[in-house]
Symmetry: D2
Subunit: 115 residues, 4 copies
């Protein structure tokens, strides 16, 4: 089974058995998205590139848990807003392909509106 | 094909054709995660529950684009750190099931450490 | 003595006695700013307006500590970048006064570029 | 006049003339705090230490505006929650002095609970 659909189903089942839907308005859910993304980011704070390289090897488990938390809220919010997130990301990649033509953006970290 | 694997492949292909890997250290990528999550959140700011309900109907496209941006960075970072995000989220859901037993958490928004 | 100057002095004295300046590049300091702002925000998550009203009365101490953390990093970063934050905010208020003329923005939550 | 008090007064006067208090519940205000902190952070993304050093010289004006925005929301929220932010930060510095004794924390980026 498509893992995005399967994971979404399990998340919603988990929530509904606890009757938590009433708390899940989009604003508060989006707060979770930001706060969990912050927890991913916190792992890399105060570290040089070298220190990060070592750190990610010894803390893969912790980082993967935080990343999973972000994905959790993406799937939940997509479900609640009736958004097909796979289709949305496909569309986004297509848009980015147009915004950032290889010929202009190769090796350059320039935002598309300044290309 | 498994859509998580397929989307990851396309994201990495998109990046590598532009030779952007050199910019993608985990810290800066995690910043993108936070900033894009912030853009999702911004859609709901200053709105009551009623206003949100109307808003999400007329702005589904915009919100889905921001959500796709967050997923984009999750898949890219998971790839770079060699994390199997599907497995991580499965594990997380299992952990949450233990942390929040239905009997104790039904209808209550209490953090597990205060249950 | 001007409290902004005095607090900044104490923050820098605190840091320099611990020889922490070497960690304080603007990027990592800005991460702290975001993460501490997130901790302020977390206090209000999953709460209705009514619940917030009660909550802020009984948790003033905790919230004020988080707000102080954000101010801490603003003053430290302003110092390191040689920014006069009092002057900057004065300037910002002047700009906002022009962007949002009372006649057009009274009672309306519209962003200036849509006024 | 004490600049924290003076700036707070001007911010509240600015708001009240536009009758915006009704929008300013603590949750949405805290969202602004996070989003504006994110705009500070964005200035430093994708940049090495060297690139940051050059960047902050040529973009001081832009960065100071974003920092002022964060301070704006701190002062507004402190006012609305009846928090004396100067006193709170004084208290915080005192607490940090105890949490991080110079002898143990000199030159080390270790969180107090791991000292």
């Amino acid at each position: 089974m498509n893992p995005i659909k399967r994971l979404t189903k399990e998340i919603i089942k988990f929530r509904d058995r606890r009757e938590w839907k009433k708390f899940h308005n989009p604003k508060d859910v989006a707060l979770s998205l930001v706060l969990e993304a912050g927890e991913v980011m916190e792992h890399f704070q105060w570290k040089s590139e070298d220190e990060m390289r070592k750190y990610v090897k010894t803390h893969k488990q912790e980082i993967s848990e935080e990343l999973a938390d972000v994905l959790y809220w993406i799937l939940l919010l997509s479900h609640d807003l009736n958004i097909d997130i796979e289709k949305s990301l496909d569309r986004k990649i297509r848009i980015n392909n147009e915004k950032y033509p290889v010929s202009k953006s190769k090796g350059v970290a320039t935002k598309y509106d300044k290309l």
